[in-house]
């Protein structure tokens, strides 16, 4: 049952989704399509730390932002072509994860959540004050107005990310090791696991694709500024999507991202006069999900309890440090 058929299915679905921009060429639709893919990518990568290990990353958006700015800087200041520039965005995001993960992931509990939140704030401020990033004015990239092209690039990046995560988290030993840390971090030491090292690997794994997605976003939208790429909203929305969809699974955050993105789009289309309401709804949605649907949409219908276990650990509802 496992193995070849499953990954063939994943490739088929990705290829099937790739046909959509061929049929639907309306610019507005393609924009929504590409953005939905982008949120799927951010939600599944956020879930690596939160769902599989139970470590809440309150600054996931920083990788998106670092990727976006790095790509923009290499394109604008150094004339590097789009492909390598995006790859460099992923590398920069990975290095950022190493720098913040190294000190915070050797500790348990809230240090990681606080550290990632602070990092996002700090990098946002940095982009705001530096000359090279254009401060509050942001950066303009040379326009490359091919909506179809970007929808395929985004699909390629997100599809490849999904496939890699599926192989690593659902097929390879790595995923089960991460879940063991989520279930009992001190117990995991006794079976030969080094949680600090595994968490750092997982953190970099979650950061690199987010950085690449940020890089693609920058070239696609052609304009970035601190609030659009390093604001709280990136992290907050990815969080709501993943939690709502179902933590600790790969499908859950995908479903959560699609449903929540659809809601967001309708909201902005019809209720844009009530913008402040959106943030309130976002906050209520996450609180209600944690309280009433801890396993998320997917977890609830498949009766998997990974979501609540991840939240229990992430929110330190369960003391797991006694020996």
């Amino acid at each position: 049952m496992r193995g070849r058929p499953a990954w063939l299915w994943i490739l088929l679905v990705i290829a099937g989704v790739g046909l959509v921009p061929v049929v639907m060429t309306d610019a507005f639709f393609l924009r929504l399509f590409t953005e939905a893919l982008m949120w799927i990518g951010l939600a599944i990568t956020w879930d690596i730390m939160a769902g599989y290990i139970g470590y809440l990353n309150f600054g996931h958006g920083v990788f998106f932002g670092v990727g976006a700015y790095t790509t923009a800087l290499f394109i604008v200041k150094a004339g590097v072509p789009f492909g390598p520039a995006v790859a460099l965005g992923g590398v920069a995001a990975g290095l950022t994860a190493l720098v913040i993960g190294w000190p915070t992931l050797r500790l348990r509990g809230a240090y990681f959540a606080i550290g990632t939140w602070a990092l996002n704030r700090a990098v946002g401020q940095l982009a705001l004050v530096l000359d090279i990033t254009g401060g509050a004015d942001g950066m303009r990239l040379p326009p490359f107005l091919r909506p179809q092209f970007f929808s395929w690039v985004m699909l390629g990046v997100v599809g490849a990310t999904f496939l890699v995560l599926w192989l690593l988290l659902e097929q390879a030993p790595f995923g089960l090791k991460l879940k063991a840390i989520r279930e009992d971090e001190s117990g995991s030491l006794a079976i030969g696991l080094n949680p600090a090292w595994l968490k750092l690997q997982a953190f970099v794994l979650s950061a690199v694709p987010a950085g690449i997605i940020g890089g693609v976003y920058a070239y696609w939208i052609t304009f970035i500024d601190p609030s659009s790429t390093l604001g709280d909203l990136i992290t907050d929305q990815a969080t709501v999507m993943a939690v709502f969809g179902g933590l600790g699974t790969l499908i859950g955050p995908v479903i959560g991202a699609i449903l929540f993105f659809a809601f967001k789009t309708y909201f902005w289309a019809y209720l844009s006069d009530y913008q402040v309401l959106y943030l309130i709804i976002l906050g209520l949605a996450i609180a209600a999900t944690v309280l009433f649907l801890p396993d998320g949409f997917w977890g609830t219908i498949t009766k998997r309890q990974e979501g609540r276990r991840a939240l229990h650990k992430g929110l330190a509802l369960k003391e797991t440090t006694e020996t």
Partner: protein, 248 residues
């Protein structure tokens, strides 16, 4: 004389001002089952945690197979060949029984297929083969304790530390677990076991070490230890005669 599997020399563990284990020394030879007993709070679990790397000894030296391993991390000791169970059982509750063993098997079998084969072997050995796909949280206490042993066995250890794997079980379950422990010894592993149930520890141990208030007060064959005056006092309190005798 062959190198002992485990050599504990003058190990002291303090928490702030509290001396939990006070310069304890002993050795465990290959193939032995050494029982570690003592009243509640005697420092048995603390000593276990020091030997398995969870606590760093304040003083003293721990050698495993002739190598100094004092202060090594638990995962490094697991890789070196020390497996342990926990008094408060720690199954990975959200994972299935099989997955619990598989994740421990990765240490010696990094590939998925080999780890699963090893895990099935261990599951059959501990008698949980029919419950492989059950969530670990759904097992009875006896089942969870055997799963703990299984996780330690999957590491293919040379020395296995069993922390109260019998306590809390009914007589039938206890007998099953005792048989399992003897099977583990017969498979060539050396065992250090903490246990409260005297009937069990006296029956299976080749040697017994008695701790009281963090100090080792006796060691020897089970029947010797059972007759030791200090041991009897530690468990039952000083006898009226002894008190009289010392004051007169």
């Amino acid at each position: 004389m062959p190198e002992p599997v485990l050599k504990v020399e003058g190990v002291t563990v303090t928490f702030g001002g509290l001396v939990a284990v006070d310069s304890v020394s002993f050795q465990v030879a290959a193939g032995e089952i050494v029982g570690l007993i003592g009243p509640n709070g005697a420092g048995k679990t603390t000593l276990f945690n020091a030997v398995s790397g969870y606590y760093k000894p304040t003083r003293g030296r721990i050698s495993f197979l002739g190598r100094d391993v004092t202060g090594r991390q638990p995962y490094a000791l697991a890789a070196g060949g020390i497996g342990r169970t926990f008094q408060i059982v720690k199954p990975f509750a959200g994972l299935s029984v099989l997955e619990n063993i598989v994740v421990a098997s990765y240490l010696r079998h990094p590939r998925q297929a080999a780890a699963r084969r090893k895990a099935w072997e261990v599951l059959k050995f501990i008698g949980l083969g029919d419950r492989a796909d059950l969530p670990a949280a759904g097992l009875t206490l006896a089942g969870r304790k055997r799963l703990e042993i299984g996780k330690a066995l999957a590491l293919e250890p040379k020395l296995i530390l069993l922390d109260e794997v019998v306590a809390g079980l009914n007589p039938t379950e206890a007998d099953q677990t005792v048989r399992l422990i003897l099977k583990i010894r017969d498979a060539g592993m050396t065992i250090l076991i903490v246990e409260h149930i005297m009937r069990v520890i006296m029956k299976i141990s080749t040697r017994i070490i008695v701790l009281n208030y963090g100090r080792m007060i006796a060691q020897g064959k089970p029947d010797e230890v059972a007759r030791d005056r200090q041991v009897v006092e530690a468990y039952l309190g000083e006898s009226a005669d002894a008190t009289d005798g010392s004051t007169s």
